[in-house]
């Protein structure tokens, strides 16, 4: 048996190796400095040299074709894939991929350990962060998540009408990310730390698909199994503070714990059918159901054994089940050769079968378990949406196409302040034919989103225990101010215009101009987002002089403006939204309003060219630049203690210049050299020169925003024996 397998492989591979084609590249890449923005996704974040290589090879033997591709073999971004196909018979592929996502590496932490983070024995606690002695007790740590992925796909075509395929995907994510964690007794007095949270997860996905194709009928069935496993259940950390909350909470006994994302199993089944009733009428019917189950053991109310917990958890595991159902029915017709008339119905449902219980939360691992009247209920969220679309399209003389569509969508949500929402959407598109030197497309879209009665007290009732509800006056039973309209539930009217023109004055030239604008008015919102607008414009120019010369340039401008209103008020008897209780800051006082105008602009541009200097020498160069600016302008009204004032502008600047030279020494041998100059600077106020001890009640770890100048050099030798597959 083994000998037969060996012979089969030899029969395929040996002549393939002799008769195949491709190229093998070996080289080296050098980075001049440690970075994290430049090396964020390309794994070139460390100063130094790396040996690197890539392979592309393919071959055919009779009716079998295989190809092997591998790149970045010397880096943490390596990928390898192999594919074997037999014409109209089977298709097999296996791929392995790694990718590294790198975060800011300028931070420090005093913690050691992984899932149980401890402070060093020499730690000196303090009331606030500035009181810590951080000079000796901290170490560098890297925010780094490495993803490894393995894919195996096997497809078999039994006959022109039946094909089956199976896919196995395994993905692993391991690393460290920065996570906020607080120990507190009430929201006004948190003591937080940013901890290096370990990440160790994997996802296994198995998918089977069957495709049946008949003359006018096509059927597709897919079943998917997903298993997500998180190897870290709970992350605990030692409280660094000495803030008088009691010996059970303060350093060294105080411990906080946060739960990680739970394991789950998901099973999904989808069936799709397409039936061409007549040449001009097609029905598409599709449905999918999925079930996701998780029954991870729930952590205790607190990991701090010194705190008193007198009420047990109503459940030791959620035993939660999430079910989704989707149904699509499309009727697609072409009543005339130039016209299309389509109707679509879509149904989406999310059902969460978890039970509701009152949870006697221990506030922030900082307090004994409170009375049951402060218990909070979990809310298994559900949503159901019906969407109806009618669209008509007509091809005008001259090749232009006019399309109009109307969409009506209604949604129901449980546990939301607005139970029912409706969306009416009209869309009009006029586009030219894809031939001709001048092509254009204009789309106008009008959306009207409306909701049922806004029940501002509903979330309060849903989350809060009955005992507390009865103690709170009617007009104070709200979690959010009654005048707030939450973004995705708010009434709004939206107008969007999108325009695109492409001009091809000759065979070699192409110019594309684009512009889009969107204005949203949240007409019923007095607090929350009230207006939003975004505008975009761009130009792309390219010239192709055949194999000898190519050039391109592009320019893009994006702007986004959002206005939102807030109200600054305190709790207790100052809380009533509708009663006047002077002189304390209160929810009913409009002079306590403030507005925030968030204006973001980005300009980016690129220019490049590639020139064949001679038959064996080619040069390519490219420049790319990006400049962004974000402003948050804050205005207050007449409340004397509210001053307002703009936040510092946040800017990002990126410049990147690349030059590459390829010299074909011989027919089968090419030398390449590349230089990349990269300049990136950012001044985000949230992280600008943030010292580890800057925030009184948050031990951040400190961080500097990236300010990088990097030179990257690479040289490579590419061997391409005969054949022309590049």
């Amino acid at each position: 048996m083994r000998m037969r397998l060996f012979l089969l492989l030899a029969w395929i591979l040996v002549p393939s190796l002799v008769l195949g084609e491709g190229d093998i590249t070996i080289g080296s890449v050098y980075t001049s400095d440690d970075t994290f923005r430049f090396g964020q996704y390309n794994s070139l974040y460390e100063q130094g040299a790396h040996v690197n290589g890539s392979v592309k090879w393919r071959s055919e033997v009779v009716d079998r074709h295989w190809q092997l591709e591998a790149r970045d073999l010397g880096l943490r971004n390596r990928e390898v894939s192999f594919r074997l196909q037999a014409a109209n018979s089977f298709d097999f592929s296996v791929g392995y991929s790694e990718s590294a996502a790198r975060g800011n590496d300028t931070g420090l932490t005093p913690y050691v350990g992984s899932a149980e983070l401890r402070l060093p024995l020499s730690w000196q606690p303090a009331v606030n962060v500035p009181g810590f002695d951080l000079t000796q007790a901290t170490r560098d740590f890297d925010q780094d998540i490495q993803r490894k992925q393995l894919n195996i796909v096997l497809g078999k075509r039994f006959n022109p009408g039946l094909a089956v395929s199976g896919t196995i995907e395994f993905m692993e994510r391991v690393g460290t990310r920065l996570t906020g964690a607080a120990i507190y007794t009430n929201a006004a007095n948190p003591q937080a730390v940013l901890i290096p949270e370990p990440v160790d997860q994997d996802t296994l996905r198995i998918e089977m698909e069957a495709d049946l194709d008949f003359k006018d009928l096509a059927l597709q069935a897919t079943t998917t199994l997903v298993r997500f496993s998180n190897h870290e259940d709970l992350v605990t950390w030692q409280n660094p503070y000495q803030s008088g909350l009691g010996s059970s909470v303060d350093y060294p006994a105080g411990t906080g714990g946060i739960a990680t994302e739970p394991d789950y199993d998901q099973t999904a089944l989808s069936l799709n059918a397409s039936w061409r009733l007549m040449p001009r009428i097609q029905f598409v019917l599709g449905g999918a159901v999925s079930r996701t189950e998780q029954d991870d053991d729930l952590p205790p109310y607190t990991v701090n054994p010194m705190l008193a917990v007198n009420q047990s958890r109503p459940l030791t595991s959620l035993d939660g089940r999430l079910e989704t159902r989707h149904l699509n029915l499309f009727v697609l017709t072409r009543p005339f050769r130039r016209a299309a008339l389509n109707f679509r119905y879509r149904y989406r449902a999310r059902e969460n079968t978890a039970s509701r219980f009152a949870w006697n939360a221990v506030i922030g691992d900082g307090l004994d378990q409170p009375s049951s009247r402060f218990a909070l209920f979990n809310r298994p969220l559900e949503k159901e949406t019906d969407s109806y679309t009618l669209e008509a399209s007509y091809r005008l003389p001259g090749g232009q196409r006019l399309k109009a569509s109307y969409v009506f969508e209604e949604s129901y949500r449980n546990f939301a302040a607005v139970e029912d929402t409706e969306l009416d959407s009209w869309r009009f598109t006029l586009s030219s034919a894809r031939q001709g030197p001048l092509q254009h497309r204009v789309q106008v879209r009008l959306d009207d989103h409306a909701g049922s009665t806004y029940e501002w007290s509903r979330p309060f009732f849903q989350m809060t225990a009955v005992e507390l509800v009865s103690q709170v006056p009617d007009d104070q039973r709200w979690s959010n101010h009654p005048l707030l309209r939450q973004y995705h539930l708010a009434n709004f009217e939206k107008v969007s215009i999108d325009w695109r023109t492409r001009w091809l004055p000759g065979k070699n030239w192409q110019l594309e101009l684009t512009a889009s604008s969107q204005e949203v008015e949240f007409d019923k919102s007095e607090l929350g987002l009230t207006d939003a607008a975004s505008h975009r414009a761009g130009a792309n120019l390219s010239y192709s002089g055949g194999e000898k010369y190519q050039a391109w340039a592009w320019l893009a401008w994006d702007r986004s403006d959002r206005d939102q209103t807030g109200r600054d008020f305190s709790g207790g008897i100052e809380k009533p939204a509708n009663r006047n209780v002077l002189p304390l800051p209160q929810g009913s006082d409009p002079t306590r309003d403030y507005t925030v105008g968030q204006d973001t602009a980005a300009i980016s541009a690129g220019i490049g060219m590639s020139i064949r200097l001679s038959e064996k020498l080619s040069l390519g160069t490219e420049y790319m630049g990006l400049d962004t600016s974000e402003e948050n302008n804050v205005r207050t009204f007449s409340a004397r203690d509210l001053v307002g004032g703009d936040l510092p502008a946040i800017e990002h600047r990126l410049h990147r210049v690349e030059a590459k030279l390829d010299w074909q020494v011989r027919d089968s041998l090419t030398l390449s050299a590349q230089h990349t100059w990269y300049r990136y600077k950012e001044n985000d106020y949230a992280w600008s020169n943030l010292g580890i001890g800057d925030i009184a009640k948050v031990l951040t770890g400190g961080q500097n925003p990236p300010n990088e100048v990097v030179n990257m050099f690479s040289i490579a030798v590419r061997y391409t024996p005969e054949g022309k597959w590049k």
């Binding site: 990718s99 906020g180 879509r346 999310r350 969460n352 792309n540 207050t636 597959w725």
Partner: protein
């Protein structure tokens, strides 16, 4: 048969197989004939691996074979809407193209040969998609983005260019299904859920790229205050003075300095998404 003779027999078979393999033609005979003149079109011929020759699309073209200067092939193609796709659909139809008719690309007059090259290799992602969707070119370089430029994420990882049940040509029926295929840790269900997470990831995130960290649509605390406006720190004014005062609402991770389980919490004390 002795062990030694068995080995010799197998080696002979292997040698015969090698010889036969080197003798068999690598491509269909039709393509070989066309190759004598159209070498550049048959190199990298994408259909070769499925044993599809030139005549499958261009017809038997006997007149052209006899007198190529005078007679064109039976069928030639342009970018004209009507004819470019029909020949392709004669083979590439059925379940794979189930959602093509009436899809955004189909109604925009996008023909097969605008994206696919039957002869040789054309553009690959993302350049292919950006050739029409050039307005998204700049998004690849924004400070917070998917690793598209590095080739780790492709447009087709999220979008189905041949059509889908979703109006934005997403794989799957909802944006959340697409995102949690890679970001599988946020699928849930959680004991305490966060409403926008269960509804649509794009309520808070901009998947094509953003100026904000984590591809957020807006910056905390203002993003959070679009839905949360309560007493004390929830509705608190956060202005420029907070920067100098090193307010934890503005500095570091802002609201997420404490509310780190923003995608949901499976902790009994996690109702406020701090655990």
């Amino acid at each position: 048969m002795t062990g030694g003779r068995r080995i010799v027999t197998r080696l002979k078979r292997l040698l015969l197989l090698l010889l036969l393999s080197s003798v068999f033609p690598l491509a269909s005979s039709a393509a070989e004939v066309c190759e004598t003149c159209h070498r550049s079109q048959t190199d990298g011929f994408a259909h070769r691996s499925n044993d599809v020759g030139c005549t499958a699309c261009h017809g038997t073209s006997e007149a052209h074979l006899s007198n190529p200067v005078v007679s064109s092939p039976d069928t030639t193609f342009s970018l004209a809407e009507d004819d470019a796709g029909e020949r392709c659909v004669s083979c590439h139809e059925g379940s794979r193209m189930m959602y093509w008719q009436g899809s955004g690309h189909e109604l925009a007059g996008t023909t097969c040969n605008l994206c696919h090259r039957s002869h040789g290799e054309g553009l690959s992602e993302p350049e292919l998609c950006l050739s029409c969707h050039g307005d998204l070119r700049s998004s690849q370089h924004l400070p917070s983005r998917h690793p598209i430029a590095e080739g780790k994420v492709n447009c087709t990882d999220c979008h189905s260019p041949h059509g889908s049940a979703n109006e934005n040509l997403l794989h799957g029926d909802m944006a959340t299904d697409v995102c949690t295929r890679c970001h599988s840790d946020y699928r849930g269900p959680f004991l305490f859920e966060h409403d926008p997470v269960t509804e649509d990831c794009t309520i808070c995130h901009k998947p094509h790229g953003s100026v904000q960290p984590a591809m957020l649509d807006s910056r905390p605390p203002f993003l959070c205050q679009q839905c949360h406006m309560g007493v004390n720190h929830v509705g608190e004014l956060n202005d420029g003075g907070g920067i100098a005062a090193r307010s934890p609402n503005l500095i570091g991770k802002s609201c997420l300095n404490c509310h780190s389980r923003v995608h949901g919490s499976n902790h009994p004390s996690g109702a406020r998404l701090t655990r």
